[in-house]
Amino acid sequence: MTGTTIRLQGCRKAFADGTVAVHDLNLTIEPGETLAILGPSGCGKTTTLRLIAGLESPNAGQIFFDDHDVTRLPIEKRDVGMVFQNYALFPNLDVAGNIVYGLKIRGLSPAERNKRCAELLELVGLQEHGKRSIHELSGGQRQRVALARALAPRPRVLLLDEPLAALDAQLRERLRSELDELLRGLGITSVFVTHDQGEAMALGDRILVMEKGRVAQLATPREIYQQPANAFVASFVGNLNAFPVVERTAQGLRVSGGELPWTGSNLPSTVYCRPEHLRVMAGESHLRGRLVGQFFQGAQSRLLVDVGGAQPLLVDSADNVIHTPGALIGLAVAPQVLFTLNS
């Protein structure tokens, strides 16, 4: 399986009631890449996936698989594998029957079908389950069968719609790493939709963050987190502290609760930082405020510190010291972790 390039050129999709789900989308997905489409519900991420799949056709624009224009091709002619949100396994067929469905349609002989089916059952670790009925499977097993069924005909592109959303938290974590390993091993171009930023970060080579049918940012997970393109991306991917700037001082910027170090020559109206970049300091500190909440989260504690701003600051502290409620807390921040955003 060699990767296919997927290219969307000026794709636009509006529904019958007039709502525009996707505005003039331009996107190139590299061969073998795993792209995560991330966004809140109603942002157009599922529509984008369905456009690539061929389950929806765009009102304007073109879709290419390599140099082949597939815009007018229905899904059954596009040679894509798809994993649906609730798996959509055929309840009238057993596990093996589901996996060989696509092979039968392609006219493979029974011997070839059985061989390929055995390969896939092994790939997803369900060797013993070929004759099981779909009703007898657990959620995680169904997910694996759905994946095996989609991969069986060796599709050019693998599309996954919220592949892990229907599973409980622990299983989700495990299947996430299995899926990651599998996608990397196969080297198939894959696109998946999720509303879970953790999933997008863990699985995506790049993340496409969508907002109201438009691209908010397309970048690697690291870039998205460290250099978010705007306030929407920053607040959707991880938590964020905002500091409205009062005035420029000799050493930095005066904000509510203290003074932040600032090396830039410009004067931003608001600066931001992530909760894990604020450190609790016993002695000299940049900011001072009262502790209004403390939540134990295992490896770290989340503190809420009121520095007199509109909202208390979020602080992720690894030391797990228990502070008394209302205690005066000093916070320090390194200048390089502060950033500004285009609104």
Binding site: E76, N86, A88, F90, P91, E136, R149
Partner: protein, 264 residues
């Protein structure tokens, strides 16, 4: 075990109601096996009446079975795609059409039969063949298959299953036969059960549409009630029950097994 008097009263009442409904049936069956009904069982039991009925009326039995099977096949061929289309469309027109389809059931059978006679009565060959009755039966029984099939289709998340089949390369016709039909088996079977039963027992329409050469079992029954001895008519009823009861039990068992399989 000590039971309250209330329980005894309830049991007695239930048994009385059962007896009220079953005794006439049993009496009628016994009449078909009694040598002389007016003298009672003391005159002796016999299969003579059954044999006599079979000799006189066996063509009506075969025609009824033939009609019921043909009707079930026609209704499946028309009804399953129709149900699919109605579920897929699901708009004002499809709902109006659904109501329209039930009309022949709501209307007296005689009225539908008259309409058929007025329209197609002049085509002699068609008018005198059993296919004329088949048309009436199909019209009358169609909603009894379409309704349960639609109900099952609406339960089954068919659109997603079809999308899954399409993503694996299946075109529309392949999807219909490999995904839609197998996942509606329970509904189709329940419908066929209903259609076969209704077609076997249909009298209203059939009585208007039949010719002396195309008499079905219920029409023959009416004949025998009107013209033959009471014992003959009763024996005829017995044959009808012998035919339909095992069929009903078999079909019920199959549909129970299917619906169990689906609810797992």
């Amino acid at each position: 075990m000590k039971r309250s008097s209330l329980f005894v009263m309830q049991l007695l009442f239930t048994l009385l109601v059962c007896a009220f409904m079953l005794v006439p049936v049993l009496l009628s069956l016994m009449a078909g096996l009694t040598r002389n009904y007016f003298q009672g069982v003391s005159s002796g039991l016999t299969f003579d009446w059954l044999i006599q009925v079979w000799q006189a009326y066996s063509p009506t039995v075969w025609l009824s079975i033939q009609l019921a099977v043909a009707c079930a096949v026609c209704v499946c061929v028309i009804g399953v795609p129709a149900a699919y289309a109605l579920v897929r469309m699901n708009n004002r027109f499809s709902r109006a059409f659904e109501e329209l389809m039930v009309l022949p059931v709501a209307m007296p059978g005689l009225a539908s039969a008259l309409a058929l006679l007025l329209t197609y009565g002049q085509f002699g060959g068609f008018r005198s063949s059993w296919l004329f009755i088949l048309v009436g039966h199909v019209l009358f029984t169609l909603p009894f298959l379409v309704r349960p099939v639609m109900a099952v289709m609406q339960r089954q998340h068919l659109p997603t299953l079809e999308e899954a089949a399409a993503s694996l390369g299946a075109g529309p016709i392949k999807r219909f036969f490999s995904v839609v039909v197998p996942n509606c088996r329970a509904g189709i079977l329940a419908g066929v059960l209903m259609v076969v039963t209704l077609s076997l027992g249909e009298f209203n329409l059939t009585w208007m549409l039949h010719t002396p050469m195309t008499k079905t079992l219920p029409v023959g029954l009416a004949d025998s009630y009107a013209s033959a001895r009471l014992e003959v008519a009763s024996a005829y009823t017995l044959i009808f029950l012998l035919m339909i009861v095992p069929l009903l039990i078999a079909l019920q068992a199959i549909s129970a097994r299917l619906s169990r399989g689906e609810s797992r």
